[in-house]
C-alpha cells in the first residue's frame, strides 16, 4: 500500500511542475507589462528611470526562465506575491476565502451522496417501476439544467413566495453559528450538487443493475439471506468502485463550479475572489487562485486513487 501511495505521489510531481509553468505563462502572454497595469494610464508619464526601477522591483529585467524560478521558489516558501489592489499577501487572501468554498463543496458532496446513491439503488432494485422512471428523469434533467438558471430561480422563489433570502455577503462559519451557516449554504450547495447527484444516481443505478445479475447475488438470494443485507453488503459495496471514481472527478469539478454558484449567491469564496481579480486584472491573485484550484483538483484525484486502492485490492497489486 505504501509503495502504491508513493508511486502516485511521485507521478503527481511533473504534473504540478507543468501546471505551474502554464499558470506562470498565462499572465506573461497578456499584452503589456505589470508596470502598465499597476500604473494604469499614468504609465506614459513615468520617466525612463522610474520604469527601470519598477522593472527591477518586479524582477522584469531578468530573463523569463529566471523569473519563473524566482516565482516558483517564492511559492514553495508560501509566498504567492501581493495583490495589486489591496496590497495583501495572496496567500492570506486565499486563506480568508477558503473556509467558505470548502464548506460549500463539502456540503454539496454530502448532498449529492445522500441524494444520489439511495435514489440509484432504489431505482435498480425496483427496475422499471415508477421510482426507476423518476430516477432516470432526474438523472437526465439534473445534468441539463443550467446551474446559473437554477440558482437564480431558487433565489427568486425564496424571495417572492417565502419572503426570505439566505444571508448574503459575509460568510458565517459552521463552528461559530451552525444554524446560520447551514441557512446560508444549503441552497448554494443544492445548486452545486444538483448535477453531481444526478450523475451519481445514474451511475449507481447502472452499476447496481449490472451486479444484480451476477451469480453470487443469485446465490445469496437462494441461500435465503435477507434482501437488505444483499443489497447493501453484496451489491452496493461492489457498485461503489465506479461511483467513487466518478465522485472524485465531480468533486474536483465542483471547486470550479463553485465559481458561478458563489457569484449568484454572493458568497465570499475562492470563486468570487478569482472573478473580481479577473475583472480588475489583479494578476498575482489570478495566478494564485488558479494555481490553488488546479492544486486542489490534483489533490482530490490523488485522494481518490488512494481510496480506490483501499477499496479494490486488485489495483494495488497491479502496480
Amino acid at each position: 500500500m505504501y509503495r502504491y501511495l508513493l508511486r502516485r505521489l511521485i507521478q503527481a510531481i511533473p504534473t504540478l511542475i507543468i501546471v505551474s509553468i502554464l499558470v506562470f505563462l498565462v499572465t506573461r502572454l497578456i499584452p503589456g507589462t505589470i508596470i502598465d497595469i499597476i500604473a494604469g494610464l499614468d504609465s506614459k508619464i513615468l520617466t525612463e528611470e522610474q520604469i527601470k526601477a519598477l522593472s527591477k522591483l518586479y524582477g522584469l529585467d531578468q530573463p523569463l526562465v529566471k523569473q519563473y524560478f524566482v516565482w516558483l521558489a517564492a511559492i514553495i516558501h508560501g509566498n504567492m506575491g501581493y495583490s495589486f489592489r489591496t496590497g495583501q499577501a495572496v496567500v492570506q487572501e486565499i486563506a480568508a476565502r477558503l473556509p467558505c468554498t470548502l464548506e460549500l463543496t463539502l456540503l454539496a458532496t454530502l448532498i449529492s451522496i445522500v441524494l444520489g446513491i439511495p435514489l440509484g439503488l432504489f431505482a435498480a432494485v425496483k427496475h422499471n417501476s415508477l421510482i426507476d422512471l423518476i430516477c432516470t428523469f432526474f438523472a437526465i434533467c439534473g445534468i441539463s439544467i443550467p446551474k446559473v438558471w437554477l440558482g437564480v430561480l431558487i433565489i427568486f422563489i425564496l424571495s417572492r413566495f417565502f419572503g426570505w433570502l439566505p444571508p448574503l455577503g459575509t460568510f458565517i462559519p459552521f463552528h461559530i453559528n451552525p444554524v446560520g451557516s447551514l441557512e446560508q449554504l444549503v441552497f448554494p450547495a443544492l445548486v452545486l450538487a444538483f448535477d453531481v447527484a444526478a450523475t451519481i444516481a445514474r451511475l449507481t443505478r447502472s452499476s447496481t443493475l449490472e451486479i444484480l445479475h451476477q451469480n453470487y447475488i443469485i446465490t445469496a438470494f437462494s441461500k435465503g439471506l435477507p434482501a437488505s443485507s444483499i443489497y447493501f453488503r453484496h451489491c452496493l459495496k461492489n457498485a461503489l468502485i465506479p461511483i467513487i471514481t466518478a465522485l472524485g472527478i465531480q468533486v474536483g469539478y465542483m471547486l470550479a463550479g463553485a465559481i458561478a454558484v458563489e457569484q449568484i449567491f454572493t458568497l465570499p469564496g475562492i470563486g468570487t475572489l478569482l472573478l473580481s481579480a479577473i475583472a480588475r486584472r489583479d494578476y498575482p491573485v489570478i495566478q494564485g487562485t488558479i494555481l490553488f484550484i488546479a492544486f486542489a483538483f490534483i489533490l482530490v484525484n490523488l485522494f481518490v486513487d488512494v481510496l480506490y486502492g483501499i477499496i479494490n485490492p486488485k489495483i494495488r497489486l497491479e502496480v
Binding site: 511533473p14 504534473t15 507543468i18 501546471v19 502554464l22 498565462v26 499572465t27 502572454l29 497578456i30 437526465i140 434533467c141 445534468i143 441539463s144 439544467i145 443550467p146 446551474k147 446559473v148 438558471w149 437564480v152 430561480l153 433565489i155 427568486f156 424571495s159 417572492r160 447502472s206 443493475l209 449490472e210 474536483g252 469539478y253 471547486l255 470550479a256 463550479g257 465559481i259 458561478a260 457569484q263 472573478l275 479577473i278 475583472a279 489570478i286 488558479i290 484550484i293 488546479a294 483538483f297 490534483i298 484525484n301
Partner: protein, 279 residues
Amino acid sequence: MKMLKRFQRFVKTPTGIVGLVLIILYCTMSLLAPLIAPYDPYQMHYQFRLHPPCRQFLLGTDQFGRDMLSRVLFGARLSLILSLVSTTIGAVLGTLLGVIAGYLGSYLDAVIMRFIDILLTFPPILTALIIASLRGGGLSNVVIGIAIAFTPIFARMIRGAVLIVKEEDFVQAAKALGASNLRIMLHHVLPNVASVIIVQFSLACSWAILLEATLSFLGFGVSPPTPSLGLMISEGRKTMEFAPWLIIYPGAVIMIAVLGINIMGDRLRDILDPRLRGV
C-alpha cells in the same frame, strides 16, 4: 437502408421521441429566428418597458422595452452557432491529437498524453473562463476558450478508441499490404472511431451551450447588447421580483436545448455502441 432502420429504432422509444422533438424545436427556433421573430431584438419600445407577456409581446419586454421573444429566439441562434463552432474546433484538434498519439504511439504518444493529462487537471469551466476573460471576452474569445477546454477531452476519448481499433486484423492487413501510416489513419482508423466522435460531439455541444451561458452570465462572455441567453438571465436578475419572465424564458430555452441533446446523445450512444448499452 441501414441508416433508415437505425433511425427508426432511434425514434421508437418514448424518450427518443421527446429528445427529437426538443432538438427540432430548438433548431427551428434558432435557424428561423430572423424569419419568425416579431421584432428586431435590439429595437427598444420605450413606452412598453418591463411589460408582462401579452398579445403584442408574447414573452413580455425587458428593462429597455426590447421584445423578449425576439431576443430569446436570437439568443438560441447564437448559442447554437457558438456551440457548434467551438465544439467542432475542439473535436478536430482533439481528434488530430488523439489519432496521432494513439496510432503512432511510442514517444509521441507519451508526450501528447502527458500534456493532455495536465490540461485535464483544469476543469473545462476554469480553462474557458481564464482564456475567454484574459483575452478580453467577446464572441470569438468565448469560442477559443471553449474549444481549447474541449480539445483534451476529445483527444483522450479518441486515443482510447484508436488503441482498440489499431489492433484489429484489418488494420494489420492494411499495414502488411504496405499502406502508409497516413492512409491507414484516414481510411481505416478514423472511420472506425467515428461513432465515438459523434457521441462525444453531441454531448460536448450541450456542455458548450451551458459553458457559454455561464461565461456570459458571469460577464466574461458575449458582451451586451448581443442577445445571449446567459446574459439575459444575468440582466434579468435585477428586476426579477416584478418581471420574472426575464429570467424564466431564457433559462427554459437553454434547458430545452441541453435536455434534447443529452437525450439524443444517450440514444445515439446506445445505437452506435452496443457494448455500452444500458450504461
